[in-house]
Symmetry: C2
Subunit: 589 residues, 2 copies
Amino acid sequence: MERIHCGTLRPADKEKNVKLKGWVQKRRDLGGLIFIDLRDRSGLVQIVFNPDESSEALKTAEDIRSEYVIEVMGKVVIRDENTINPNMSTGEIEVLVHDIQVLNKAKTPPFMIEENSEVAEDIRLKYRYLDLRRREMQETFKLRHQTTQVMRNFLNDEGYLEMETPMLTKSTPEGARDYLVPSRVHEGEFYALPQSPQLFKQMLMMSGFEKYYQIARCFRDEDLRADRQPEFTQVDIETSFMSKEDIMAMTERMMAKVMKEVKGIDISTPFQRMPYDEAMERFGSDKPDTRFGLELITLSEIVKDSGFKVFSGAVASGGKVSGLNVKSQADAFSRKDIDKLTEDVKVYGAKGLAWLKVNEGQLNGPIAKFFSEEEAAQIMSAMNAEEGDLLLFVADKTSVVYDSLGALRLKLGKKLELIDPNTFNFLWVTDWPLFEYDEDEERFFAAHHPFTMPADGDVSQIIDHPQEARAEAYDIVLNGYELGGGSLRIYEKEMQDRMFEALGFSKEEADEQFGFLLEALEYGTPPHGGIALGFDRFIMLLAGRTNLRDTILFPKTASAQDPLTDAPGKVSEAQLDELNLKLKRKKQD
Amino acid sequence: MERIHCGTLRPADKEKNVKLKGWVQKRRDLGGLIFIDLRDRSGLVQIVFNPDESSEALKTAEDIRSEYVIEVMGKVVIRDENTINPNMSTGEIEVLVHDIQVLNKAKTPPFMIEENSEVAEDIRLKYRYLDLRRREMQETFKLRHQTTQVMRNFLNDEGYLEMETPMLTKSTPEGARDYLVPSRVHEGEFYALPQSPQLFKQMLMMSGFEKYYQIARCFRDEDLRADRQPEFTQVDIETSFMSKEDIMAMTERMMAKVMKEVKGIDISTPFQRMPYDEAMERFGSDKPDTRFGLELITLSEIVKDSGFKVFSGAVASGGKVSGLNVKSQADAFSRKDIDKLTEDVKVYGAKGLAWLKVNEGQLNGPIAKFFSEEEAAQIMSAMNAEEGDLLLFVADKTSVVYDSLGALRLKLGKKLELIDPNTFNFLWVTDWPLFEYDEDEERFFAAHHPFTMPADGDVSQIIDHPQEARAEAYDIVLNGYELGGGSLRIYEKEMQDRMFEALGFSKEEADEQFGFLLEALEYGTPPHGGIALGFDRFIMLLAGRTNLRDTILFPKTASAQDPLTDAPGKVSEAQLDELNLKLKRKKQD
């Protein structure tokens, strides 16, 4: 007899004889009968053991406990009206068991297999195989599977070829820290695990494949934050002969398809586009959450000559003054509440948080007296300040103003429930700086990577005014998260030479590290570009979760360990010896 | 104007204005005109520059060389009847160019971009991006892409979930040599790259997902042969509650779908099944190529008392005697030819190759005199020997007989063209030994892996008679290549404990290495099993190629190097220091 899945049974199946296999979710004994909620990957169904049906099965059921794996044969019957469970998709029926077989026993699990379980995460990860039995985890990984297939089908339909690039590659000093893999054959040499397939996908364009994608595992040996993992998955795409607009439009079609097929939501395209500078000025962030307002308002011009030295001084020393208008919250925020917000902005280096309240048409608060009537009117006008509004200000170096007010905006957005959790706001951030200046190393680094095309192919800019140079780069942002980013790539050797020069590479250093790329550029490289999307994070947002680890089957902890298998672990002396390695310091036990 | 792909143009497109982008395959100057074969991923089309159409474009074309990347606008015209090229799918038309733009130049490539190029492999790999431009390579990777999608769609349709297991895992001493990845955070500890997702896919069954698959990258740090790579791809599948027959039938449906959709070939299912012992006895191989006969024939019983001491002695000391009947080849093989075959079998440890020829109804040859008339008749009958047949024999330890005659059979099959290259013969090899005895280490090892279910769940056998124990394992063989293998897994803790005991693990060692698995088995593990298919090798066979490296975009050489990027490479002292490592010996330069 064919096995039926528990969660699929319906009243239409009544009188059918069925075979079910699954896990015991819960057992209840009642009036000489035994009721079991039987679980498989499709859901739950109630099965009933009674002495009329089979006293033998009933006897076996007496020893059964949660998480036993059983196989039963039984008859589907309609429940009495008063025992119907409207919260269960199979709640109108139950299965009268006439035959049972215990396939495997189970000890009492360390935690209940149920939704919204409040178990400490280290226990969940140690017993991940139990944690994953929970309905919400099963649903998350079904959604991940489904999203993968929708994206693949989209890319296949658009003529992209799925291609596999190497995992054992070469370490390059640009970018994040590599995971290294010692070579046994070549003593003293190492492979590196890829931070992304960047150079290989460019090589594939040089190979004439024109349209490539890969759902690729990538690795970064960085200190972990809540939304980072040592290994992560990205949807990696590269194309030849396509413009920036072509690539962005293709990405939008893909996203619209995922939202429709996975979430049933129609999203409109094209997505909003916002230059980097505007995103920073209005949202204090290069990945703005545009689901709510509470935007930053630049006040530097208005307050640059004001008597409030904190403001005028910040502008005079090249910084800026920006403010947030927290509408109608003047009364809701006490002095103490504002002191707490001040602590929040200090985390980002702000020296303080100035505030004003609008009361009877006037600005009120300790700093109000420093502004002329005209300045006060201009501030109110610029900030659209109305009765009962709370105005918050940071005056500092521009980067500090953005970081602190950007974070404060998000915090207040959540606190004041300005954000609709069911909205998905996609946004392109464009016109990125080509370089970032590193003050410690006193040199420019590539803001994206050294293969990014300068805007308008402007070679001279990158050498003469690197701080002004812009990139042909675009990031896709969803609800305040960077979902991915891409760029057109440099495809002319001379331009790539100049780029390495701007990054402070000597010709020898460039050749040593990227000689193969520089050589390849000389053999007919097509114009090309692409994008990479952070797949784990996308799933997190689609599943409505907040912890990236809930979207990865066997994630690592913040210290890069797997509590289930206890990786990483010790290896034998013989293994190290084969690799020509020894530990520099003995481990401190 | 939308770009059109070169290879798609047909006479129906005549008079159309088209935009093309691609690479210059070849330029020919003829009578004041210039002809270029333009190539993109769809194929080739001839474009023509003539002074009537555009003298400016003609002038630009004069500087164009092979592998330049160009964009042209032109008009599709039908060729004169006498210039039609029937060998080109676009051979009936050409494109008269009125506008050309050089997108990128190219130096003269180190080899021609053409089919069946006879370039040394190290050069091909160093300039892999040029090698991959060749039509046969483009076709191989399109076939790889297509096969991937067919398998995925099949598995999706059958309810399997695609799931991603970790790459940074724990090293275990069983199995092949691991690639290790030093941990920076946990000094002196290492991750290992997975040899397969075996334990994680079992964990997913314990998690209740029931049907899993992954097209998974796997790693083995072994010395490389022609058909091995340090990293390789396997189609990894695991299921719960399915029988061995269920899993084999599912695999057959998948293979039939691939053969139909990728190759247009109907293959019949179920596939032939052959116990391991039979495969060895008849083919001298655990992965027999069943596309041709020339089977091994066991003669031990017939010759055990013969006067030829080499034969009778081999049987007496526990070995065996087997022969091959090379039909109608008596005259074709001279003594010298047979001497060469003897050298071949010696590679496998055989001490010699005996031979007989059938001439005028009699066995002829130097050893003929040792056999009685009855023995000679029995040999001829057993081997179905007829006039003009060449009979070859090895008498030795059983394993030497199988290895040497198995290899000789393959060699003769190829040499005598007994194999139809267009046939795809799938075969299951079943009833595998559970253990292999390692004479160096003087202990039993798991023939597949230590999680394989013993046949009929027979616990006592594995402790008391390990050499007799059989596994619930099955290998799928295609045309003499092991395409993959699988098994039912142990799902009861007691059985797994016994298995580790049989492998010589103390309880402490088993807990240290596999404690998490042993613990997981106690919390309601369903009966489960699966299969893994070597994807690179499958593609090699589907594409009709003989070199595994031609199926991998950026493969490693036999010394595990990538000649393109020059991986592996040196890393900085600082990188090693962060990992608490130093080299044991200085590299010998």
